[in-house]
């Protein structure tokens, strides 16, 4: 494997232009997701999915603003924007549970679906603790961000990072990005923006650290992100043990049933 590559999405400079969404769709030739007015601020995309690999969230926040005549109003004074993407987890549940090997880890440390192998079993869909990967109806296969595997192989940065005008989306070696993020966080804290925090950068979290991590200005759940995601396969050994016990109890129950210890269950003929 070459160096592990990643995304650092600094939402404190995101202007919500959605160039990432468009560049992603254009490069990856994704279909549209329907034309529905959602009335959720400027977000008519809603969430990541099989045909949306970058999604910009818009969160309007109100703090009571003092007006003349002593009345408060409901004016928005903070509009958070954040471009969400596949996290390319160190411990990736989608990759773990894929039965066909369609999902694999690339030489860049990213997690990618091989579209010629995926048979659309859909198991990866509920396995992802971030709700990223999805099956595309009509097509039948599971799709998600590839971190532009093809572009990376050609020595190019992913389309979203390339298109981002404010460098909210930064692409590079993960270690370097983590350092950069720490510096940025320090600077924001020094500026009095104590609400800034990193999300997904720590290798000690439930997914072993994300290959795509974020600088957020509020709790993760406000952006639709799980506050403490855990790779679902962490509990798998234990699950198998419980299932094994249950299997033994099936054998035991059947044996007991035939052993004839039960009054009234003897074969009618011999009663």
């Amino acid at each position: 494997m070459t160096e592990r590559m990643g995304f650092f999405t600094d939402t404190s400079v995101c202007i919500g232009c959605k160039a990432c969404e468009v560049a992603c769709k254009e490069w990856n030739q994704l279909p549209d997701d329907g034309f529905v007015f959602e009335a959720t601020s400027y977000d008519n995309t809603g969430q990541l999915g099989a045909s949306t690999w970058r999604h910009v969230a818009f969160i309007e926040q109100t703090r009571t603003v003092r007006m003349k005549e002593d009345e408060g109003d409901s004016g928005v004074d903070r509009w958070l924007m954040s471009s969400d993407v596949c996290k390319h987890c160190t411990h990736a549940a989608c990759l773990d549970v894929c039965p066909t090997g369609a999902l694999f880890r690339t030489e860049f440390g990213t997690v990618v679906v091989q579209e010629d192998i995926c048979n659309g079993c859909g198991y990866c869909v509920p396995a992802c603790p971030f709700g990223v990967i999805d099956r595309r109806e009509g097509d039948g296969r599971a799709w998600k961000c590839t971190m532009c595997y093809d572009r990376q192989r050609g020595g190019l940065e992913p389309a979203c990072a390339k298109a981002c005008p404010t460098d909210s989306i930064q692409f590079g070696p993960l270690d370097e990005l983590r350092e950069r993020a720490e510096d940025r966080l320090e600077r924001l804290h020094a500026d009095g923006r104590s609400e800034a925090r990193l999300y997904g950068e720590s290798p000690d979290d439930g997914v072993g650290g994300a290959g795509a991590f974020f600088l957020l200005l509020d709790e993760p759940e406000v952006y639709g992100l799980p506050p403490d995601p855990v790779v679902t396969t962490r509990d798998l050994p234990s699950m198998w043990r419980w299932a094994g016990a249950a299997a033994l109890s099936v054998a035991g129950a059947v044996a007991v049933a035939f052993a004839g210890g039960f009054a009234g269950f003897r074969d009618g003929g011999r009663r």
């Binding site: 969160i59 509920p126 396995a127 296969r141 054998a251 007991v256 009618g268």
Partner: protein, 299 residues
């Protein structure tokens, strides 16, 4: 009533994706897998104990259940023509991969066992196959619990201890019920016993699960999933009781068998519905995680 948990979300949108598996395919497969697995186990024991009619019934049930189940699984795929990609790799980290191999073995072995039984040819091979399903059968009946638990769906994942027993109980009840219905009453006694034990196991593990899960169990109690799970419990408990007292009554046996079968199906449909509901409401994802984080935080 548990007070409504305070939590924040993004326009109430789900954090995780709901399982995309469809009805009736997926829950029916869960039922058929359980039926096949326990039927195999019953066939093994019936063979040893000389319950020939029951052995025949269960051998056939095991084979048909596995075959029909595999068919439903294939139909559930987005690309059914790539069904065989399931056997492209063996991945211990993927319950579906492990399950595919289990199901393949179970399907193959039970088919051999059933054809030998029905045609009378190669009896040694048939018996050896049956014997082997004594291993694959119970696994077929219970691996599906790991399959659903190994997801980010809170109602499933949090229940990974009890679900295997719930599934095992349901499978026992399913196979017992079929055995009761399809075997002459004279030989159906062990089948009724299996059914009763299964009903009891399913009921007890269901109660334990809901108690232990707390808020995560809400989806099993509310909405469509709640209705299905309540029906399942009534049908299973009732069917189990009837099986216990059925004796030689043709009507009671039939009622019991049908109730247990319906109960098992309700359980399987209810589990899927609860999983979907639990994925659709961000509360079930966010609140426990938030509590976990806040608990870790120094005061």
């Amino acid at each position: 009533m548990v007070p409504e948990a305070e939590f924040r979300s993004y326009y109430g949108r789900p954090v995780i994706k709901a399982p995309i598996w469809h009805e009736p395919h997926m829950p029916t497969y869960l039922y058929l897998g359980g039926l096949s697995g326990v039927s195999s186990m019953m066939a093994v024991v019936a063979g040893f104990t000389g319950h020939h009619r029951l052995a025949r019934t269960t051998r056939v049930a095991a084979a048909l259940g596995a075959a029909a189940g595999a068919g439903l699984l294939a139909a559930e795929l987005g690309r059914p023509e790539r069904f065989l990609n399931m056997l492209r790799v063996f991945k211990p980290t993927s319950p579906m991969s492990v399950g595919s191999w289990i199901l393949a073995a179970q399907g193959g072995l039970s088919a051999v066992a059933a054809s030998s039984e029905l045609t009378g040819s190669l009896p040694v091979v048939g018996d050896a196959a049956v014997l082997a399903t004594g291993v694959t059968g119970p696994l077929t009946a219970t691996y599906t619990a790991v399959l659903v638990a190994d997801t980010a769906v809170p109602a499933w994942h949090e229940a990974y201890r009890e679900l295997p027993f719930l599934f095992a109980g349901s499978a026992l009840a399913s196979a017992g019920a079929l055995g009761m219905l399809a075997t002459p009453r004279a030989e159906a006694g062990p089948a009724r016993a299996v059914a009763v034990l299964g009903a009891a196991m399913e009921t007890v593990s269901g109660v334990v699960m809901e108690r232990r899960l707390g808020q995560a169990a809400e989806p099993y109690r509310q909405g469509r999933a709640g209705r299905l799970m309540r029906s399942a419990r009534a049908l299973t408990a009732g069917g189990g009781l009837l099986a216990a007292v059925a004796g030689r009554s043709r009507t009671v046996t039939a009622l019991s068998g049908l109730a247990l079968t319906a109960g098992a199906l309700c359980t399987r449909f209810g589990i899927l519905a609860a999983g979907r509901a639990s994925a659709a409401d961000p509360k079930y994802t966010v609140v426990p995680q938030r509590q976990r984080l806040d608990g870790e935080r120094p005061a």
